[in-house]
Symmetry: C2
Subunit: 257 residues, 2 copies
């Protein structure tokens, strides 16, 4: 049987440990191809580069894997992979990550990792974003290997349907083994920003974004809860942002006043 | 009665004609405050600036309106408005736009205009993004004035509920008057990219994103159809990207194999 072709990308940049780990795992399953940003692109959301030209360069940092770095955003990488670099190749799956840091809850909308995965899903490629709840460069990924492989193999064998997109988050490595996989909804919560005020070398004021994530719920079924209980969370996700439950109500308010 | 405080932002930048038009309209309803990008930020999606400091400057281009320009993305602007510039002020509504160009269908996920509005909704501020199906700097906005005012006044009087967010798109001005307002779901379609290949002055290859939007449906109820029939489309939108219909199916595939 022909091995599936798996496109790997991320938002931490092509030299991040997380993507190297994901490539290593994917090589046990399929033919791996890589297009990833040449610099860190955390928090880029679904940004695309319209005002500037993009550059791509072949790199040789992963043994036996055709790999390209790109000057743009994670979404640019997927568009270039699909339309330029591998335009004549069938891509069976896209995996993005492993992100250094959580993309659970509302983090999905800020996440370059998940936006790259969503872009692939829009190109009709089933797609999975993986994120680890550990920002550190030295983060340990091994404890999730068997679960990542299970999720990827299941996707390749059975397909995803729906929005063709999974948001997978992995608890930080600890002395407790991961309990299993919970399929969840996106938990409620948001970032409470604190802007650090400072002065640059010329004495001009600046503001630098910082903040803490506020978990606004602990109800059953959310990814945030599953992760806090040491489960891997899997949220089937979609690019359809319609709030269907509100359509009739808003129509009445606007049109039947 | 105290006038409502309305925060105006956009993604085309603080000098774009669309935001000037929206400010003019909002001044007839409320106390207007403005925080908008100091340069065009189209296609920035929900990007935030993590790696660099942000700058803000007071500007005096709108009569009697406290206005600030910001060096960051549209989402940065809303975060700075809420947490720094107007942190002690109650904001009753956020309006974003009027965008020069459509944010109907899948465009919502790439749109800085809609991401700014969504960010406000996450801060518990009801929020509306307005976009005109005309990219031109000379675009005419007047034909939609009465509809924009109706949508904003209805929101202020009755509230939005749900995701607290509306995506409003307006047909390009033509000889046909706008027929009315349709409350819709996000239509299906995507961008078919074409990357223009070229060489820079030093002879190095670049790729520049271009493309056409492909409308993949004409079914009743979508914003794309309503706009093609010369209606204003209003899509109640949400930052919850969960594909609820898939949760049980994915759970069976992964956990009950």
């Amino acid at each position: 049987m022909k091995k599936p072709t798996i496109l790997v990308t991320n938002d931490d940049g092509i030299t991040a440990p997380g993507i190297a780990h994901l490539i290593k795992l994917m090589k046990t399953i399929g033919e791996v191809i890589v297009v990833a940003p040449d610099s860190p692109q955390s928090g880029m959301g679904h940004a695309i580069t319209l005002e500037d030209p993009l550059r791509i360069h072949r790199v040789s940092i992963f043994d036996g894997v055709e790999s390209w770095e790109c000057s743009g955003t994670p979404v640019d990488c997927v568009k270039l992979a699909r339309n330029v670099i591998f335009k004549d190749r069938k891509i069976d799956l896209c995996v993005s990550g492993i992100n250094h840091g959580s993309n659970a809850g509302i983090n999905i909308i800020y996440s370059g990792t998940m936006s790259a995965a969503m872009e692939a899903s829009l190109e009709d490629i089933e797609s999975i974003g993986f994120s680890l709840l550990d920002f550190s460069h030295e983060a340990i990924f091994d404890h999730a290997d068997s679960f990542i492989l299970k999720i990827v193999k299941t996707t390749l064998e059975k397909g995803l349907g729906g929005g063709r997109l999974l948001n997978v988050n992995i608890p930080k490595c600890s002395e407790q083994p991961i309990k299993g996989i919970k399929v969840c909804r996106q938990g409620k919560g948001n970032w409470e920003e604190k802007f650090i005020e400072g002065k640059d070398p010329r004495g001009n004021k600046y503001y630098w974004m910082s903040g803490n994530f506020i978990n606004k719920e602990h109800a059953e079924g959310s990814d945030l809860l599953a992760l806090s209980q040491n489960y891997i969370s899997v949220v089937p996700s979609t690019s359809d942002l319609t709030d269907y439950a509100q359509i009739e109500d808003i129509n009445q308010k606007i049109n039947e006043a």
